[in-house]
Amino acid sequence: MFWRPVFLSLLFLGGVHPVFGDFPRKEPISPIPAPPAEDPRKIALGKRLFQDPQLSQDGTISCERCHRLAEGGHDPRPFSKGVGGALGSVNAPTVYNSSLNLAQFWDGRASSLEEQIDGPLQNPVEMAMSWPEVLRRLRADATYQQAFRALYPDGITAANVRDAIAAFERSLLTWNAPFDRWLRGDKTALSPQALQGYELFQSYGCIACHQGANVGGNLYQEMGAMGDYFADRGTPITRSDLGRFNVTGRPEDRHFFKVPSLRLAVRTAPYFHDASAKTLEEAIRLMARYQLGREIPDAHIPPIIAFLQSLMGTHPLLRP
């Protein structure tokens, strides 16, 4: 198993080094790191699997169906429709930059991308599949057989399917955002309005949670830390609203959710786990109200949006 150290060192070189590296600017937000080196054939295979509706029970739903890569890697519908039109209970988050998150799902119940894949695949309201059936279908396809054999000595297995899809997802980093360029020292990369938005973003305290390379995604926070969001929402509390509590069972984790990344916020409406905010303005206002405990004047919203705009990097699959 000589490749393991090599692989580890690659991981460290590609993933860790930029985090620890010296930036031109010392800011709570760091640039998106370069994607880890990976066999392009594996990424291609992961992409094919990601886009293959065969992975759902009735052959209609692919991963991409609810993580639309061109738009924002998310589902613009409040709740995704699974096999047979079943509705999910939370808004599908973006798959872009998801590898930077501390865990997957709103409640962080999957500690890795590989683990995450089991969720929607087997969820009866999503793809409603079982691994044996997935493998049976993939093995019936000669081109899959060939592609897997080229990459894995043991061919088509659940672990290898997960590995391929995760490898593809790890490649989904939105690189070279204007803000990242600014962080690297390009003074012209940010408009004055965006810069003003960044300052407001910090002064309002948003930055406390939405920081790091992914501008969020690296901690859990209570939904309604400074106000009773669920009481004001006006709809009954669902199981999904319990958030991280569903994973840990600890009372103090009630209504705690993974802080979402804001990297593609301008593209990923609707917002929040319950998709209650239809627009970015609304989301900003609601966040200020319930998380910061204050109202934000109208004049401050466009700069913040401009700042959020500058967070969006590029990816070949993402519509610019």
Partner: protein, 1119 residues
């Protein structure tokens, strides 16, 4: 024993080696690299955890601006833990370590949970710390007073945040409560409350942070890590200790092995010494062997050979020292003329390439110097080849000697049996097997008495045994029995066989099958008996033609006693009746063919002459051919008499006693010869009785025969004695008048005969009258040979008969001319076909109702180059007679079909009627031929009508009936031609598959005047209709006839009224035109054009039937 010990040593070594490997593996259990890796993992874990802790404290001191490092470190720790767990998973025994790791992982997990809480808490606090100054700023801008009051409180809060203490917190809470307790304007109150709520939240969160931090500090990851590290080190030490023990063990085992190796080496040395000694001994032994020996290695090179080998093959001496390859040796051997034999002395081919390497392969080598070697080329399991040669020259020579003797025995023509003293068979030769039918295997060990047939007495056997046991030889004959039961004779000589000391050890019987000799003797005896008793005289002469012996029959026939004739020549028997030429011929035949037989007249002793049938044969001696003769003869006096009788019967008519045809022919030839010589006139009277048949038929054969006898008597009375009256059979008699002066004598005789035969005969008491017709020919005027004369007389007789009976007629020139004509015509007819003088005419057959032509009758014409058109009435009977009707009929059918095919192609729907002759059936007109013909012309059988005569229909012959049926099955229709003229009655038509009746023209021509004919035609029509037959009237010539026929419902007809027979090219025109005008008006006939002969309308030539040359009456012709 040695092998056994060596096996034990091997096992011991194997066990020691296994132990060595096991021990080595045990030492390997201490894997330094793995240990280092573990330590490295633990170190990394410790470091990363320390970094995590550092980060946590930085965070709680709000020194950390982002949380990404946590994600990184936590992932790293999880990964390291995973690696560690995986490493330990291989170590089954260290469950305590597993537990330690699990405990450490649990503590870390608790720590991670706390970190998450710390992260969200510090985030919220940071959030407030970010926001409070901005909020205070806003407040002081809107409410400056309130701002001033809140500023120190805010300062105290930030101080608390930096340097938290319970007292400061207490004071802050009191101050905030005091501030809140004051009175404010509503908008001031709202702003103050907002600010205070944030400050309170900060305090609350700070308190939570404190708690979390305290909990974080108490998480015992370090103790767990220390415990883990300690346990791990302990375990490593224990393993190291064990490894040390095993190392020591390894050393001991290795030392043991070394000692063993030393011992083994010593043993090997000793063994080598022993081996060398053994080798030397073996070498000496081999060297001193009397056999030649050579050993070749698996590579084919000579390894070892002894002195003897070089002595055996002296020519190899030069190359033997240079370790030659076997192929070199074989090459050298091949140069010598060495012959190879297998053990059964069959030659085997010399070896090419390698010697065949087989087990137990023996063969013999015969060297040119006369030496013989027994050779064996044996392979060892190691593919080495051992060649051994033994000099067997001595024994071989003995063997050859023996074999010669043995072969002599085996091939002896005499039976040889060797028995032991007791008489048990030890050997028999193949001749014995042949003679007795017993196989050697069956008789070995048996007593020869199995061959006894039982006709020798025990005394005789005793005598035999006494003789041979006393050492003498017994000779005698046996009458023995073969295995298959056959008896045979053999002469035997049995003698004792003695060994060197003179003791009798065996008996040998040499016997000869004398059955054949015995048989020959018997045969001779039998022959002698035959010789003595036969009725035929036998006489044997020697090479000098002197009588050697005669038998009793000879004496009986000739009257000579043997002693009277022996030593004399056979000529004493000569009768003198035969000339010298006769005897010469006889001797020629004897010399050439070795035999002669024939009739000869000889003279008896008493002088009488007698005929005898004599057969003489040369006796074939082995060295004097043809010199002795045996003559066998029988007295054939009696036979001669019998022959005379037969002669009479052969030449004379038994009934009348008159010469028959054959004797008559002889006499005639004889008298013609004389007549020619003497210029005589000879007359031949051919007499045929009139009315004899009716007498024979009515009064019976006996009366008929009686009549013939009377006739014969009267005929004889009419002629001279020298004339010949012969009966030719039936009622035909011929009289030959020899040597007459003139023809009138013949006429006179004829008259006399007629007169004689006119006198009534007495026929069994009744008076009967007959007459005679006589034809006369004269030689030499009417013919030069007997046959011609007879034939011409016959013809003249017929002329006489047709000129009225009781009449005679001379053969005349005109008769002759007629004959010649006929012959010429016959000749021409044979050529007519190939010279294409035959052609076909077609006469339309008309439907009375429609006026359409429905068919044509095919009529044959012969255009003779000199005689012009010849009537079919003349040449068809001739053709039938000479068999030419076959090819002509085929020609007609073929041409008619070809023509019909043309018409059909042109759209003329016509059937063709072809006349058939009865004779054609016999001449090969088979249904197959007709079917093939139709198929070739693609002509539908339905369109073919075959016209046959009544006689064919009347023929009861099954063959012709099936002929008609087969053709009917093909679809061909049949018409009865000239119906009414023959004997046919309508009734039999039912039985025959005819389809059409053609009413003969003779009935039609007198219609309607002749009432009989009219009635007959009506009857025919009525009858035919009732049978469903079609009726065609032939020879319709006038309108009256047509009208009458129409009136009585006759539907079809042919005749000059419509058209004469026409050449084929005119038919299509007529077909188009039809005959309606002719029918309706009953007007003139159609004028045929361009006929090859003059065509007259029948009205001016009513008797066309009898004038065939004119071409009329075509519809009655035969084809």
């Amino acid at each position: 024993m040695n092998i056994h010990r060596f096996g034990l040593i091997q096992y011991a070594l194997l066990i020691v080696t296994a132990v060595l490997i096991l021990v080595f593996l045990q030492t390997r259990r201490l894997d330094l690299a793995q240990h280092t890796h573990r330590l490295d993992l633990l170190l990394q874990l410790q470091q990363t955890e320390a970094q995590l802790d550092r980060n946590t404290f930085q965070m709680t001191a709000f020194q950390l601006v982002q949380y990404d490092p946590f994600v990184t470190y936590i992932r790293r720790i999880r990964d390291l833990l995973q690696q560690l767990a995986e490493l330990e998973a291989g170590e089954a025994a260290s469950s305590t370590l597993h537990q330690e790791i699990e405990a450490y992982r649990q503590a870390l997990s608790d720590k991670f949970t706390l970190i998450e809480r710390l992260k969200s808490t510090t985030a919220l606090i940071r959030n407030q710390l970010h926001y409070l100054p901005a909020a205070a700023q806003t407040l002081s801008e809107t409410h400056p007073q309130l701002g001033q009051r809140i500023a120190p409180l805010l300062n105290a809060l930030y101080r608390y945040n930096l340097l938290p203490s319970d007292l400061a917190r207490q004071r802050l809470l009191q101050d905030m409560d005091a501030l809140a307790a004051s009175a404010y304007l509503p908008e001031e109150r709202e702003a103050l409350d907002h600010l205070l709520s944030h400050m309170r939240a900060n305090l609350r969160l700070m308190e939570r942070l404190d708690g979390l931090r305290a909990r974080y500090a108490t998480i015992p990851t370090d103790t767990h890590f220390a415990q883990l590290y300690r346990d791990y080190s302990k375990r490593h030490e224990a393993q190291s200790r064990i490894a040390r023990y095993f190392n020591a063990l390894l050393l001991i085992v290795a030392l043991l092995l070394l000692v063993g190796l030393g011992l083994a080496l010593r043993k090997i040395y000793q063994a080598q010494q022993a081996l060398k000694k053994a080798h030397d001994q073996l070498h000496n032994a081999v060297e001193n062997l009397s056999e030649a020996f050579a050993l070749f290695g698996a590579d084919g090179h000579l390894i070892l050979h002894n002195r003897q080998y070089a002595t055996f093959y002296p020519w190899l001496r030069t190359i033997l020292s240079s370790r030659p390859h076997i192929s070199d040796i074989l090459e050298c051997q091949a140069a010598q003329e060495i012959t190879l034999w297998d053990l059964k002395n069959r030659p085997i081919p010399p070896f090419k390439g390698r010697l065949p390497c087989r087990k137990d392969r023996f063969y013999q080598e015969e060297l040119p110097n006369g030496r013989w070697y027994l050779a064996s080329d044996t392979c060892t399991p190691d593919r080495e080849l051992i060649c051994v040669r033994v000099d067997i020259s001595e024994s071989k020579h003995f063997e050859l000697e023996l074999r010669k003797l043995y072969r002599a025995l085996e091939q002896s023509p005499a039976t040889v049996i060797i028995t032991d003293c007791e008489g048990n068979i030890e050997y028999v030769n193949p001749r014995f097997e042949e003679t007795t039918g017993y196989k050697a295997a069956e008789v070995i060990g048996q007593n020869p008495r199995i061959l006894k047939s039982g006709d020798k007495s025990p005394e005789e056997y005793k005598e035999l045994w006494d003789t041979i046991k006393s050492g003498r030889t017994w000779r005698g004959q046996f009458h023995n029995r073969r295995k298959d039961g056959k008896i045979y004779w053999e002469s035997a000589s049995i003698s004792p066989v003695r060994d060197e000391s003179g003791k009798i050890t065996h008996f040998i019987a040499v016997k000869e099958d004398i059955t054949a000799r015995k048989r020959a003797e018997d045969q001779l005896r039998m022959n002698a008996t035959v010789f003595e008793t036969t009725n035929e005289g036998i006489m044997v002469t020697d090479e000098k033609n002197r009588i050697v012996t005669v038998n009793p029959a000879f004496t009986r026939i000739t009257g000579y006693e043997p002693e009277e004739v022996i030593g004399r020549k056979p000529s004493i028997l000569s009768s003198g009746r035969h000339d010298r030429a006769f005897y010469q011929k006889m001797w020629e035949s004897l010399k050439k063919r070795g035999a002669w037989s024939g009739e000869i007249w000889n003279r008896r002793k008493d002088g009488s002459v007698y005929p005898e049938w004599l057969s003489i044969a040369a006796i074939h001696g082995p060295d004097h051919p043809h010199q002795e003769y045996v003559a066998i003869f029988s007295d054939i006096t009696r036979r001669k008499q019998d022959e005379a009788q037969i002669q009479r019967q052969a030449n004379f008519d038994a009934l009348t006693g008159l010469p028959n045809r054959s004797l008559f022919a002889d006499r005639l030839a004889h008298s013609l010869r004389s007549a020619r010589r003497e210029n005589w006139l000879v007359a031949l009277l051919f007499i045929d009785l009139d009315h004899f048949k009716s007498i024979n038929d009515t009064l019976g054969h006996v009366v008929g025969d009686n009549l013939l006898q009377q006739v014969a008597k009267r005929l004889r009375s009419c002629v001279r004695e020298s004339d010949t009256v012969a009966r030719f059979g039936g009622d035909e008699f011929v009289v030959l008048l020899d040597d007459i002066k003139k023809a009138s004598i013949a006429a006179k005789t004829a008259k006399k005969i007629i007169a004689a035969l006119q006198v009534p005969f007495d026929l069994d008491g009744r008076e009967g009258y007959i007459g005679a017709s006589i034809g006369i020919t004269l030689f030499p005027t009417d013919g030069q040979d007997g046959d011609t004369l007879l034939r011409n007389a016959d013809m003249a007789m017929y002329r006489a008969k047709s000129a009225g009976r009781n009449n005679y007629q001379f053969f005349t020139d005109s008769m002759n001319q007629q004959m010649r004509d006929r012959a010429a015509l016959e000749q021409d007819l044979r050529l007519a076909l190939e010279r294409e003088q035959l052609f076909l005419y077609y006469q339309p057959i008309v439907d009375f109702k429609t006026g359409r032509m429905t068919g044509v009758e095919v009529l044959l014409r012969w255009h003779h180059p000199t005689r012009g058109l010849i009537s079919p009435n003349r040449f068809i009977p001739l053709a039938e007679e000479i068999g030419l009707i076959g090819p002509i009929g085929a020609w007609v059918l073929e041409h008619a079909c070809t023509q019909a095919e043309h018409w059909q192609e042109a759209g003329l729907d016509l059937h063709i009627n072809v006349n058939l002759s009865t004779r054609q059936l016999a001449l090969g007109l088979t249904p197959t031929y007709i079917a093939d013909l139709l198929r070739t012309h693609q002509f539908s059988p339905k369109h073919l009508v075959l016209e046959i005569t009544e006689s064919l229909v009347l023929d009861k012959n099954a063959a012709s009936l099936s002929w008609i049926h087969t053709l009917k099955d093909l679809g061909i229709r049949f018409a009865v031609d000239d119906f009414g003229t023959g004997y046919s009655s309508l009734s039999y038509l039912k039985r025959f598959p005819v389809d059409i009746l053609k009413i003969d023209r003779s009935f039609v021509q007198d219609l309607p005047e002749d009432r009989n004919d009219a009635a007959l035609v009506k009857a025919i029509l009525a009858m035919a209709h009732s049978f469903g037959l079609e009726v065609v009237a032939e020879g319709v010539e006038t309108c009256e006839q047509l009208r009458f026929l129409q009136a009585i419902d006759c539907r079809k007809g042919q005749g000059y009224l419509f058209s004469p027979p026409l050449p084929p090219e005119q038919i299509p025109l007529l077909f188009e035109k039809g005959f309606e005008t002719c029918l309706s008006a009953g007007m003139q006939t159609v004028q045929p054009q361009a006929l090859p002969f003059i065509e007259e309308p029948p009205s001016t030539q009513p008797d066309c039937e009898h004038a065939p040359q004119s071409g009329g009456g075509g519809d009655q012709e035969h084809d």
